[in-house]
Symmetry: C3
Subunit: 457 residues, 3 copies
């Protein structure tokens, strides 16, 4: 039965898409759009190139997750990281984008622009679509780290489809599509500049749900429940992936102005990198104090934690505040890793502390540190102010707190239901035999490094 | 004798280049060019950054080809991927660029701008040179995959020199330099937006010729002629390379507007990525249906196939058409792999189905799907229309078909002659002993992973 | 005692930073800056994206250095490459940037803009900071290659802090911050377009000092003092890293116009890539003549040598001169490797010949080849002329020579003192036992490839 879903999906595509062609259109050449605003040329260059960088983060996630896991699962992890993008793209095109950016219905859901049909054949709409697509793909791929080394591939395909179809777009609509969170009456409503909550916390908390439903890998906890380190197979791959992610984040955060005419982009770029640096140093020093070792894995996750935390507030704070946010992010990621261990939750790559916990921290940081020097995506809009800058900050903090709770409830709730349903229908966890041998040969037929490592049981 | 070729080449460089300096010049500072058109600042940014992305595809090809081959040849493959670029650059500078973009002679060949001499010392000419250089380098490097694991390195150096000097530039002149294909009287003449034919089919069919002249690797076909899979040594390297290529393709296709004032770039970016996604899903599902495995190698090659196929039509179709083109590309790449196996042609990385067959498919797709909403590099030129959009499409399809035949004949013909001549003069295939041991130690003196893998015979 | 330095550092940060907030500010939104010059939108896009590319070079250095060293030290090398960036960022923010770009004092040192405090909260200042930061980080990371496989990690942390705090910024101020080298009365003063001297020679000569203080690795020279090759553990990682560096260099050199309105950026991009190609071919042919092998390591280092050499003159020469500069760079890098071997200096990755010797060559090349077609960062300034273009070139060559001597003396001197002091205080060289086992387990607790390679003694 399940095999017919792709067929039905593609049939729907054709019917809808073909009708779209005969419908009215927007401005598909871009000539009218450019004439109306000649400054759009540089805006398009900015947004597209930043979007390319965000797309390249897929390579970063693939390398980090593979590097931090074992050689017997590397084909599986790489396949997941490719397939969540390609499958998610189709779901996002069909439905997801319309839910985010279509005409709002009661602050809950967008209702147009499905399949980019009709009037969506327009350069501005396509630009918006490209941007939203690469962001949706980032949220989707975060989860694969948390459920690594034990999830059935078929279940992962369904997960990829659903998160890009529905889970991510719904929440993104609430914040970025004019939904109820954006319209909260406290401060300027819930604000999340580049997606600490929309992208990272969604990915992190869906991942947390997946990790809980799946349970820990064999050997992660000993008989007494003590966690054991399961080292990754290639630290150089993980480090390279982190550098790629950092590079891509310069598209993620500064590009979220969606305009090159906001020269604030220089401040955003500086805040992004300085927060990552501060978080990485902090995380490394914390582990050094505890173990006496300069732990690369934690330094890498520290950098990523800083990048996640600054994603929401990057446009509204000064450099020194970015450093402070990063120091806190370093504490959160180290504490988060220990917390999950204590709770007996197995998150092989640390996706939950990095993206989930620090995503929430980023949302709150807006409500604390926003310094009143910059507005919401435009210099003409009211400036954003946090608690540190006086009484007006209280309302903003309230909006941030509501959004933080909302994202945790929505993402964890949807994720939990999704993985539970998948477990009933397909089963989510591979057989013990397959888990021990690794997923590469049974699911994919190809070991990752056949001349170096033949997985055996 | 052959050793003197580099010396003679460099002597020629000096003589010609030094004369160039005393000759008249264009606008080397760019001040006059900018004054004439202040919008060029953003166009230069766009074209250069897209060009940087295209150059980075060299890294992607290097990783994909190395990852899909065996550890005993990894030094050889990496050296090829570097050397085709650096040797090809010199040939392209000396002669190739002039053949493409120099003053046209009878629709056949360009005749000026060699060595960027004289009036070529001009910011516009250098910009054009940079763009054409990175495209030529892409065509050159495609071939190394098809001839991997058995070609003598010296022969590869000569091949690199010749393809960048002559084979690629001649065909590129016909399409992009105002040659006879561009002037075909059917439709708007032969059109190839970013090079499905010019770059990919040229590379793919030269590669096919090379693979045929060389013959299959030892062990690729058993006594009964049945093909055997020879798995690559690092699936993570191959996957990373594919992501890098996808990233670089965002320079390749949208950058081919050669102007940021064509806001159609957003449509091109969306089409590029959606076609790749659709092709990757399709290729994976096809193999899944046959083998029951989620095959990463085919999913990767599927994505690349989609990228190749959309390269020609990317500017002239809507998103839904890009998805359809991608689905077909997925069928073609899977079918192409089986076809080569049936014909006993050994293409270790699938370069021929990906770049050759899908390059041709991309050319034809223009003649089928172009929807009449966009012109040839400019919104003021006549819009391009394919078969699906009425009778006017017939002429365009004819031009596309002629171009498709031309590229196959030219590339395969030149490639066949080149490798046959190299075989007579140098020999193209390494000794059996060297092939079994791998090419790394004998040709390069360095195994790729000396602490992990010492090639032995 | 040393443990308290971070605490004191962070305390200072807070005190200073918090005061900054109440001080006067520049233009933190960018609205006034854009209004004064609407062309800044495209300049910001150009500078930021080029800066992102430069930051990505960190990944390139990490891969090249790790690939060229042994598997038992890969965690250590990756950690160094991350930590020099994150630690250096904090030092550069606190002090380094102010030394470069703060108000000049007697041509020696900048004296304002520490911690980006007060009026530095300004989009132009943040843009300049971002650019200078990624350049400083490049200089810092060059050294880790020269001191690889035997330096204590703690000593490296202090080194990273000091070079970004003081050594690099002082010299950069002299050239780029209006210091005494920029004001030399010969020619147009000392010129270094993108940092052959400021970045690469500084890194290379500090690295030389480090390599001398540390002494060679065990096994690098036999009893008779004959050098032995110690092959790197992953040629594919080294090759990928080189491609990444090449890609990043397109930000490094063309971005150094700091303006997209200098269309000369197309000339710079062409010169950058052609010089690298010529150098790579030359280096490979030289080794081929000597050993009969196509040596990939030398071809990679040749490309990097060409990139370093063209970094200073890239804006002031034509393509054919870039090719000549590259050919010379190829000779220098090969000769430099043999020279260090003859001097019994162990530079595991060739950082000194690539960055040190060719950095100096780049400075001199400006004084020889500058062809009088372009000024110093602006088309309105006087054009730069070298020896080849007549008598006016003599003064320029003198300025270049003085700068070349200055950078060698400063960088080698500071580096020597720094590593000698660190040796007294901390000890710079790991125990023989640790060196033989590799630094990964003892310093970091994590082998790089635990399933493939367990370092043993």
């Amino acid at each position: 039965m399940l095999r017919r879903i792709p067929a039905a999906f593609f049939l729907a595509i054709f019917l809808l898409a073909i009708t779209s062609v005969v419908a009215w259109a927007g401005d598909p050449t871009g000539a009218a759009t450019l004439k109306a605003d000649p400054g759009k040329a540089v805006d398009y260059v900015w947004v597209l190139i930043c979007g390319f960088l965000v797309m390249f983060m897929q390579a970063g996630f693939a390398c980090v997750e593979s590097g931090f896991c074992r050689a017997k699962n590397v084909t599986n992890l790489m396949t997941k990281n490719l397939l969540d993008f390609v499958v998610g793209s189709l779901a996002f095109w069909a439905v997801g984008f319309g839910i985010i950016m279509g005409t709002d219905w009661n602050g809950l859901i967008g209702t147009t622009k499905f399949f980019l049909a009709g009037g969506s054949y327009d350069v501005d709409t396509y630009l918006s679509y490209f941007w939203q697509l690469v962001f949706a793909a980032t949220a989707a791929t975060i989860v694969s780290g948390a459920v690594a080394e034990r999830l059935k591939f078929k279940a992962y395909l369904f997960y990829s489809f659903i998160i890009s179809l529905f889970i991510y777009p719904m929440y993104a609509h609430w914040v970025w599509g004019g939904g109820w969170l954006a319209k909260l009456p406290f401060g300027l409503g819930h604000l999340d500049f580049a997606g600490s909550g929309v992208v990272h916390a969604v990915g992190g908390f869906v991942g947390l749900a997946g990790a809980i439903v799946l349970g820990p890998r064999y050997g992660k906890f000993d008989k007494n429940g003590k966690p054991r380190a399961i080292p990754g197979h290639s630290i150089s791959l993980a480090a390279l992936g982190t550098f790629i992610l950092w590079f891509g984040w310069f598209g993620f955060n500064p590009g979220s102005t969606f305009s090159a005419h906001q020269l604030r982009i220089s401040v955003i770029a500086v805040n992004t990198t300085m927060c990552a640096s501060a978080a990485s140093v902090t995380a490394m020093l914390l582990v050094l104090g505890k173990t006496g070792k300069y732990d690369l894995g934690m330094a890498l996750n520290g950098a990523l934690a800083g990048l996640v935390a600054i994603t929401a507030p990057c446009a509204w704070v000064a450099c020194w505040e970015a450093v402070v946010i990063g120091i806190v992010a370093g504490f959160i990621v180290v504490g988060g890793v220990y917390l999950l261990d204590a709770l007996k939750i197995d998150d092989p790559v640390g996706a939950v502390p990095v993206h989930g916990f620090n995503g929430v921290w980023g949302l709150l940081a807006v409500g604390i540190f926003a310094d009143g020097t910059y507005g919401n995506y435009a210099t003409t809009k009211p400036f954003v102010t946090g608690l540190l800058y006086g009484g007006a900050g209280l309302g903003q903090f309230a909006s941030q707190l509501i959004g933080a709770v909302a994202v945790m409830v929505w993402a964890f709730g949807c994720g939990y239901i999704l993985f539970k349903v998948l477990d009933k229908v397909l089963g989510v966890r591979v057989d013990p035999h397959e888990e021990l041998q690794g997923l590469d040969i049974i699911e994919h037929g190809t070991p990752g490094y056949p001349e170096f490592y033949i997985p055996r049981i």
